[in-house]
């Protein structure tokens, strides 16, 4: 069984928004996690599949991926 996490970068480093066992998670729980993912992406957050150093940006929720949410970025000085 594989444990996957939805994490987000925040002031304290990163925090886990959700974690699930890919084989036992209920469809309802998965739908909740997907909604959380979609809400963040709609707010301008980037999502990356970081499982096994894959490191690719994704737009859609993948229940089999280790996902990192990155806040919006902007130019600095």
């Amino acid at each position: 069984m594989a444990l996957k996490k939805l994490r987000m970068i925040c002031a304290g480093g990163d925090k886990t928004l959700a974690e699930w066992e890919t084989e036992t998670v209920s469809p309802q729980r998965l739908a909740e996690i997907e909604k959380e993912f979609n809400d963040k992406v709609a707010q301008g957050w980037f999502a990356a599949d970081i499982s096994d150093k894959r490191d690719v940006l994704i737009r859609e929720f993948d229940p089999n991926a280790e996902i990192l949410l990155i806040p919006r970025v902007q130019g600095g000085l």
Partner: protein
Amino acid sequence: MATRIQENFPLQRLDVFSHPTQDDYERAKDKARQLLRSILPESSWSELEEKGVIQLAGKRGTYVISPYSQTEIRDCASGRCVAYACLQLSIPAPTYDRMVAEYLLIRNSEDLYWKTANIFSRSGNEFGIATLFLIAFDIALFVNLLLEVLTVR
């Protein structure tokens, strides 16, 4: 009564007003460092530990991402620094998290990185002319000083 007060003012709300301590800062930094380590290839992580920077080759140049300074953009062929890029997260977060964001953006969407980051091109000519004027001015001042000294004698 005490229970009622706690209910009305939950602990999460107290967190908003509390200032992070040095320990919190160090903990956040360590977490961000571990996150960066989990993302980077082993060779890049070793490079970060040895040289303090990550080098990442892109279509438009080679990027040197540092935790403590702006990202250098170097010409792929000559290795000369041609520009500096500055990108920041929209929330306060440890510097290693900013490196995570830069690394993933450059790797996956270099054009978006260029659109979002502030890029300061480092044109050698502009710098050269300014320096040349300054040198000429310094020479003029020095000659003037010499003439003053000689005429006094």
